[in-house]
Symmetry: C2
Subunit: 209 residues, 2 copies
DNA sequence: GCAGCAATTAATCAAGTGTATAATTTCAAA
DNA sequence: TTTGAAATTATACACTTGATTAATTGCTGC
């Protein structure tokens, strides 16, 4: 038998490929389907190689989680654009409830990971970091929006608003990404913007800009 | 060796025990830890017995999911109590963001199951049914609240409100159950009630009753 | 071109998985 | 008390899993 031909790849490239293959496996087959063999196959590589780049399968999965969350947050943040705080918040909201952030694949991966957080300390750490990062963005944005309107609010109030907003966006993201038929005939962006505006006491018409 | 002594149990009891053991396993060890042996051990039974009550492990897990969702929905619904639509909606909200509905164990189980929905059609069915049931409750309640206030709203508007409310409650439930430190010094019930009141255009003070 | 090192493969292992089945025990009916 | 069916156990099997290691290959510097 002839051995498989292969190429040397830079460490970063292989790691990325393995992480991507892991996320693909999870998205299509669930966490249980993301076996070492499946991941290796999708990465066009042999199972044993994984151990050269990740000490454990656990480490690989945690790295994939971190990468996934970072990408998701970055995509949402990219939706902010630049400009007034109002328009940036609107951009964040719009990005949060439309593709590629709000899509079935992302939800599947997120859900698979979330299920491990409670029983796996390493995953819990990754989760907490990602969560706090996103809520920090919202909190900052809410603060800026309030001061932009010439108003002032206590830190606790801003935080309270951020928590509610975050919850609403999370919930909407889940519902939309889950893809029940209920959203197909609904303008999700308008609903999301109006809801947030109402919660913040902003005139929805003005907020939609 | 002496064989294990055992008792005959009615079918319903054994099924319940096995389902309870499955949920316990998932809550503590994650879905991956809910092996046939682990579940059997927790149920004080031998692995082989499971197959007498459930064709597959898949069936057992699906049954556990259905049972879990039903209990959760029932607990939330029980919080409604009786009385005006306003007070029933308030009760539902209060129940949704406090124990035993909003607690770490419930979230762990929910998360584990959610991760399987995308790649497992049977689980998807169970999920969809449970989800629609809960959203139906909210939709009904929102409709009653509106008409109770002497107002009138198109069906689409009611549905839109229900979707947003459901998303908000889901998101709050997740955040609270996840148990970040951020909620420890926050009156979650008040925040939830005020947010919903604001979204529905009700005076928060009146809504809190 | 070639030597040597790092990257990759191939093959194997022990442990754990869900499932199947025959042997045993419980329990209710006669 | 006995008997027979149903419930439960014990054991085993085939398979998959993550991990390990030696052999092989590709590549870089000389």
């Amino acid at each position: 038998m002839t051995r498989k031909v292969f190429h040397h790849e830079p460490e970063a490239v292989r790691q990325n490929d393995l992480i991507a293959a892991t996320l693909d496996s999870i998205a299509e087959l669930g966490l249980a389907g993301a076996t070492v063999r499946e991941v290796a196959f999708r990465a066009g590589v042999t199972p044993g190689l994984i151990r050269r780049y990740f000490d454990n399968k656990e480490r690989l999965v945690a790295a994939a989680y971190r990468s996934f969350i970072a990408d998701l947050t970055a995509a949402a943040e990219a939706g902010c654009g630049e400009g007034s705080a109002h328009s940036r918040l609107a951009g964040l909201i719009r990005a949060s409830v439309t593709g590629p952030v709000a899509d079935s694949r992302a939800l599947s991966i997120w859900a698979a990971f979330i299920g491990t957080v409670h029983s796996d300390p390493a995953m819990a750490t990754v989760h907490r970091e990602g969560y706090q990062a996103f809520r920090g963005i919202i909190e900052q944005l809410v603060g800026e929006v309030i001061s932009e309107r010439g108003e002032t609010a206590a830190k606790a109030e801003i935080r309270s608003h951020a928590i509610v907003l975050n919850a609403l966006l999370d919930g909407l993201w889940i519902e939309i990404s889950m893809g029940g038929d209920d959203f197909s005939r609904l303008d999700v962006v308008r609903v999301a913007l109006d809801s947030v505006a109402t919660l913040l006491g902003i005139d929805p018409a003005e907020f939609r800009n």
